[in-house]
Amino acid sequence: MKGYCGKILKVDLTNKTCTDVYIADEIYENFLSGAGLAAWWCYRNIPAECDPMGPDNVLCITSGLLTSTGSCITGRWMVVTKSPSTGGIGEANCGGTFAPFIKACGYDIIAFHGASDTPVYLYCDNNGPVIKDASHLWGQDAAVAERMMVEENTIPGKKVPQACTIGWAGENKSWMAGVCNDNGRIAARQGVGGVMGSKMLKGLCFAGTKPVSGENPAEIRRLSKMCASRVNKAFMPPEIPTGLLNVAKFLPEMQLSPDGIMTGVLMGTWGTCGSSQFAGQTGEAPVKNWGGSQKEDFHIKALSRTDGSKTLRLQTNRYYCYSCVYGCGGELDISKIRFNDEGYSRVHKPEYETQWVFTGFLLNDDNDSMLYINEYANRAGIDTISLGGTVGMAIEAYENGLLKEEDIGFPLSWGDADSIVRLVKMIVHREGIGDILADGTKRAVEILGPEFAKYAVQGGGMEPPMHDSRPDPQQATLYAIDATPSRHTSGGSLYYGCMHLWKKVTWAPPAVLVGGKGGEWEISDEEALKVLACAYFKRIVDGVGGCYFGFLLGTGIYPIFEWTEAATGWGATPDDLMWIGKRIYTLRHMFNIKQGLDPWYSRPHPRMVGEPPLKVGKVAGKTVPIDAKIMRVWKNCGFDEKTGYPLPETVEELNLNYFLDSPIENFIKEVPCNG
């Protein structure tokens, strides 16, 4: 076995049938598994310019090629579909414990076609799939629905099933909805949960026990031991307060020589929320809907009141995702916080994104409100990045007279925790103005009017994460040039410095010093290649089920290339695998073009690139030469420099004509199964 199962489960929700689809090895050899295989499946099966909320859209839920082979930090599951928010390829991924259960049922992907007219969920075990009624689950939040689904499918003495579900936001077809597992861990971005809701698919519950292995299990284990050992030795006691990072406020902007394991140690010690104060002080975190600065708008006392250390005081335990050796997850007891009328108690620790977007980004110094929204959004199954960004747009529109109290039902203002919580609930449940805002900022501009565009900070329809792109032109460029735009997990200059790709990939330029006034600002082929190395590598990581925090460790410690070779036995070098990354990268762009998108659609909002530059704070005076950066990247990946369309010779060189235009029967064999 080469790590993958060689099979997709195709579920026709309209006709309630299931089909085993056997996939030719050459597809895996050219697109990997996971999100790469799913992108190929979506390209082949989603018609041009289809309605993302209609039955013609296809929703793929997939695990990675390396998941369950014995490699570590490779337990992500991915959701791939056509996104309602961007109109292009939609992709979100998530940790937790669900990913291995997909392969344990014998499938690499579960692909949902059509749409049901009543609520359903899919159950699957070693005996095959069954489409079950979900009427009793519809209306439940994601955590409750998951528990109910698991309980009703648990057989005493047998392996306990695992499930993923949508929450209220997905049922309401919100363009910001995600898909959850493990009581609220969420594959959040690009409205993938809204697509699932449009198919009236509440969830998946899996209980298979089929074995998975790679070609060389001993080598996979050896590499995993090395990885785990090195991560464990970089451990920092969690008693160390996050306040130590306050040293950042005394530091000028400067360069550093990163070792991924040393930057990544933060994640294992505190989880991601621990770096919020640091991010606020260094200019890493955008403030006041990208229009303000920490120095001027969110002073140090407010910052301290919402520092991650306040959140970590409530932590009761840490936890690990499947196959992880980091353990960035944690549970909190929030039973005594304000706002918590529902009595939520043990909940997930917020990620950095949530910690910041509902505090500093909205000038809100009430940490309790952020903690409450975190849990409410997890149960609702909604993306907190897009949610916070949309709330920011609404507040700024209100401040500038575009929205009135009568439009909302109450006044809005920066930092008003009560009104922020109320607005969040309206968005989740599509009440009042929340019905418009539930589909994000870009859609809101289309409905409310172009005068809102100034405050609708988005790129390609996606609200950007809490990583300011103005001090990092590499990150700004990656926000723009990926087919899933405005995603910090594709990389940036710090991430590239951590990855150490140049030690394995012959064409990847070295970046031993990053930040400060480094080369990132230059318009050059070398800088463009760094951006592309990040983009292609991310395609590999998402093909094998890897984790963003894993690839930050660097390719020496997180041996994705070696694991993949040990699992598949393909004889593929790192350069060969990066070529596959390029093929997937190009395919995803071709998907977007097929769906009618102009490649320039994902140019970031002017605020994201400093047009005009801020006047105060750590990122004052910075404007990213984004158009020149984008064009240089396109030139270096074989796209037309001006239009962003892949050149015919690039498509030919990547053999994409063959894989995308040949009869699909050349690559698959369908066998009906009991549904």
């Binding site: 040293v247 990163p258 040393m262 989880g271 260094t282 990583h467 710090l494 031993v512």
Partner: protein, 77 residues
Amino acid sequence: MKVEFHGPGVCDFSKMNPDGTIDVPEGTTVKQFIKIVKLPIIWTKVFPFLVNYEKVPLNTVLKDGDIVSAFSPSGGG
């Protein structure tokens, strides 16, 4: 001999070669290396500090090709 170094922005990188290494004399100890790159010694006490991804005493003599890694604060998530 050449030692690969990774450290925070408080360090002096002026002696760093384009390949990320620093030239130091044979027999240089970890403690001496810390002084060469001007890394505050407290940094190695509070935060993780590794040589070849192992914790080592400060009197350890470095070898050609060793990798010295000091904690770098960063945001993420």
